[in-house]
Amino acid sequence: MTDSASRRDFLKGAGAAAAVSTLPLSMVKLAFADPAQDFTFAYISDSHIQHISGNKFVRNWDRGLIRAVAETNLLRPKPDFVMFGGDLAQLATKEELDHGAEMLAKLNYKTHMVMGEHDYYLDLGEYWSKLFGDHYYSFDHKGVHFVVLNSILTFDEWTYERWPTAEQRMLEMAGLDNPNGSPFMVGEKQREWLRKDLEKVDKKTPLVVFSHSPIQKIYKGWNFWTDDAEEVQALLKPFDKANVVYGHVHQIQYNQIDNISFNAVMATAWPWPYPQSYAQADQHLPVLTVPMNRADPFFERDATGWQFIDVATGRVALDYNLYDNTNRRVAFNAAKGHPEDMTYQDPARRIPPQVHY
């Protein structure tokens, strides 16, 4: 064996060892009555693929999605499907959506898509639909009813009348802190569809709703917010076990409102500050939430990541696979009736990087 060949083998082996040590391969033991019904799914979100010009895209954001796809493909046991939680693109252009779709096509699993505002406000989801299908829909999988909502709609006047061009409309909604933006909402038409969809589902069936924005009100200034959240929640309340999983916020959040559990997922692109770190505004981060660690910008993938999720108890349990950071698990505590972090929930166990100011 030549030196270069042995070196190559060594690197290959070292690469595989590194991958094994950082991947969440010790999957949780699931506990449906019928083990054949146990399953997990992976959740990737907020990749914000951003076109520069020609065939150039922002490298940093590309790397986040490429890594999530590669790691998801290595999961054992395999997830039954993958959810993508919205904001595949930054400004909803064909170039961005095509490039993102090409990366997602490398997933070895069926992928369901959620609409984000960065996918929508250029052509109101037209090109996204050509690639991915309906803006809202439901499906059943191994005894769980899944619903996907398009929660990033807003007032008709804002959408159809206010802006001279589609490009400007997209830019106005893309700026998270832009006061010219507009609050997200599911809207009456879709709520009526949801009411009818849920009508035929047994109320003991575990229900998991995927939306891009939180179906709860956290901070309006950055649209960590859905304007008709209460109306949507009212439709979920008849279910014994209702779960909402949302993207958009680029950070760990979780909450419990009546019988509805809420969990946010990470972005693969970049982290966002917790609203309490903006000194000029009131906000309502759920008190249950133990924040993710403050991001270290010198590690460009820090405070980003993806999740794998099980619904074994009828409640979602999220394993956060965090790049360049300690992984977290947030699961439902049946005794307390709300989600909690499996390591850090006790205030005595929290660590300094979880303090945001």
Partner: protein, 137 residues
């Protein structure tokens, strides 16, 4: 003119100037002045906000505000501080320059560049009211 007369004349002129107010330059300002100072500052803050949201500050179209809406998570009140990743105490504007070079893939600005000062002014303005905490990590 004798020396004595000259001194007296100068005294009279000086008194006249003082009475007319022309000699008051450093120690008095009006509410209009204060408003003008604030307007001057706010025009720079506004310029800083535009730069903060601009895709043209770096080279890859990424804007500061994508990661730092309302300049949150920048903590200008904690600078100068030991930036652990650089191993030395730096000023806030050096960290802005770091971001211009890394996530924005651009060039750093001169430390007295009006654009850099505008971005610094904007971040400070969004953080107004928060107590100074130099050195805080």
């Amino acid at each position: 003119m004798s020396k004595k007369l000259f001194v007296v004349a100068c005294g009279i002129i000086a008194a006249a100037v003082m009475v007319a107010g022309l000699g008051v330059r450093a120690d008095e300002f009006t509410k209009d002045d204060v408003d003008r100072y604030q307007d001057e500052f706010m025009s720079v803050v506004e310029k800083g906000r535009k730069l903060w949201g601009s895709p043209d500050v770096g080279t890859n179209g990424v804007a500061c505000g994508q990661c730092h809406p309302n300049a949150a998570n920048t903590h200008p009140e904690t600078y100068p501080k030991f930036q652990k990743q650089l191993g030395r105490v730096i000023a806030f504007r050096e960290m802005i320059n770091w971001c211009l070079q890394q996530p924005l893939e651009g060039q750093p600005l001169g430390l007295d560049d009006p654009d850099l000062i505008a971005m610094e002014a904007y971040a400070h303005w969004e953080r107004r009211g928060v107590a100074l905490a130099p050195g805080k990590h």
